[in-house]
């Protein structure tokens, strides 16, 4: 078990900078989540660590050993591909046993290890089946078993739950979390879903178009996003963001976004230090309540519904705000028809403030 470190790794493919000077350390025995939209470079980082891809510049260290030039064979990593990459012509048993056979382990030991990991993942009954004879969930577990069955320096899972039907994704995630915690070792987990990052990780690295925007403990990154991009992405559903100008009225100060004025006097001591005029306000949809609910120092708005989107047992209402829109999250199924007017309110002290010039975080609300 060992720290895995990437130093100034860059990779260009087809003229597009897929990785841009990435410095990232995945601490030993930690559960690190790489969060970022598809195509942000998460998979490329995993592929470079696994050695199936070489970086254009930069180096990779396992502990203090430089493995940049080593072929995958000598890196001893466990890798769960997003497409599972199960060998279609081999049974589940042979798929899982493949790394052990490559390491020339004894038949008895292979048998014992495969059956124990299969037991843990509840796939003992499909061991003699071919991938096409299994359900999606079973195939996914076989892929995970193949990665975890060996003692690897690092276990990498590339969006394992993305192609799982979202109804059973939640239970799969809980089960996966329990299993990976038990397995121990260094675990790296890539996902585009902020909720997965929140529920799984000790450490989170937010990666947007090839750049590690922020790395830290999950709470730290969620509650104090370093800039507008991280704030927008590491939030489910995505954070509402509105550029606005600082305006002084009497001894109160507001940020006027054209469609609303938000009081920010409480953040003045921080804002003055930055001596800028233009800011970006950030409000997460779940921080916005229907006016009927109690909200401290509220800002009330009445907006027109564009469309209500129901996801699981919750609703996302898209409201017209000036020429942009504001999305609010309601934790139950409430459908507002397009055109219907809605009174909403949010606590002006819970607003994130970013500098418009640099996009950096200026003020973050205390954790409620």
């Amino acid at each position: 078990m060992v720290n895995v470190r990437l130093e100034r790794v860059s990779k260009v493919y087809n003229g597009k900078k897929v990785l841009n000077n990435v410095d990232l350390e995945i601490k030993d025995q930690s559960f690190t989540v790489l969060l970022g939209p598809p195509g942000a470079g998460k998979t490329t980082i995993f592929r470079i660590i696994a050695g199936v891809e070489h970086p254009d510049t930069g180096r990779i260290f396992f502990g203090d050993k430089d493995v940049t030039k080593l072929p995958p064979k000598e890196r001893q990593v466990g890798f769960v591909f997003q497409s599972y990459a199960l060998y279609p012509h081999m049974t589940a048993y042979d798929n899982i046993a493949s790394p052990l056979k490559a390491a020339k382990m004894s038949k008895a030991e292979i048998d014992e290890r495969v059956h124990s990991i299969a037991e843990k993942l509840g796939i003992s009954q499909v061991l003699n089946k071919l991938p096409k004879e299994m359900s999606g969930g079973q195939r996914q577990r076989v892929a995970i078993a193949r990665a975890l069955v060996r003692d690897a320096n690092i276990y990498m899972l590339d969006e394992p739950l993305t192609n799982v039907d979202y109804k059973i994704r939640e239970s799969m995630r809980i089960e996966l979390k329990k299993l990976l915690r038990e397995r121990g070792g260094t675990i790296a987990y890539a996902t585009p879903d902020p909720q997965e990052a929140m529920s799984l990780s000790d450490y989170t690295a937010v990666i947007l178009n090839g750049v590690v925007e922020q790395y830290g403990s999950m709470e730290e990154v969620y509650n104090r996003p370093r800039n507008v991009k991280v704030g927008f992405y590491f939030s489910f559903p995505p954070m509402n963001q509105y550029p606005g100008e600082l305006v002084k009225v009497g001894e109160k100060t507001f940020i006027d976004t054209g469609s609303m004025k938000v009081e920010v006097t409480h953040a003045m001591d921080v804002l003055e230090k930055v001596n800028e005029k233009e800011f970006i306000l950030g409000i997460r949809p779940n921080q916005i309540k229907l006016a009927t609910e109690p909200v401290e120092n509220p800002l009330e708005l009445e907006l027109e519904t564009i469309v209500t989107e129901i996801i699981g047992s919750e609703s996302l209402v898209h409201l017209k705000l000036g020429d942009g829109k504001m999305v609010i999250h309601i934790p139950s199924i409430r459908r507002f028809e397009p055109g219907e007017r809605l009174k909403i309110a949010f606590n002006q002290k819970e607003v994130f403030i970013f500098s418009k010039a640099t996009g950096e975080l200026v003020y973050a609300p205390e954790v409620g």
Binding site: V18, P38, T44, G51, V52, E53, P71, Q82
Partner: protein
Amino acid sequence: MGSEKTSVVKGKLSNLLSYDFFAVLPTTLVFVVLLIVPLITEFAYAFSTLTEPFSLGSIIFVLNDPLYLWSFIRTVIYIIIDISIKFLVGLIAAVALRQVKGYKILWGIFLLPYAMPLVPALYVWYCLYHPAWGLINYVARTTGLTSTIINFLGDPSIALYSLIWAHAWRFTPLWMTILLAGLHGIPEEYYESAKIDGATPTRTFFRITLPLIKRYLLLNATLSLIWTSGEFVSIWVLTKGGPANSTHVLGSYAYWYMMAGGNFHVAAAALVCAFPLLLVLMAIFFRILGWR
């Protein structure tokens, strides 16, 4: 996944000891030694004669030989009529078969002429065409269709076309399969959508089905034109170029000069002079391949 991967599995020729080098070496050797070298040798022979190493003698001889000119023309006729028969009969058969229950079994049986070896298949038509005891003449006589005997392979005016029919007959089942595969490849939703949009069967066929497989058919048609231009066997088996040299094509012309005449130079010149025809057909093929 957005970014295309540049996996190490995709080898580079640089590291000589790599798997990629050994995997590609044998085929490159075959390609260079058994295809490029013969091509160069053939040009060497074409641009020389029995006496002088560098001369246009053979080329000039061939271009002035009326028999060569006719062989060239007959080849062009051969490949065009051949593909037309294959395409039309194949199309009718494919469309008809799809309406019939159990068309999969019939399809297998209809492939028989293509499955059996080429030479016996041609001999079948030698017997059927035979003026004396051939079945076609016998049936024509007994049903009174024609009183005179049709000498399919003996009459210079129709010998070539009898040849082409025998050849096309043997390869039509292949074309039936190509067409069925094309029709088969179209998702069911297209036909259902057409039904809902109120298109009649014929309108559906010409406005929806054919355009969808047009590129695929043209590719295979051009491929057939190119391959059939090298036709030799049907001439060698059925007419040997006769009667009165009326059925010689490029392949047989070159063969006879090479074996009977013993003059490789003329044979080579005959083939090399036909390369332009090949290159034109191949250019058409690659253009269609490049289509959307």
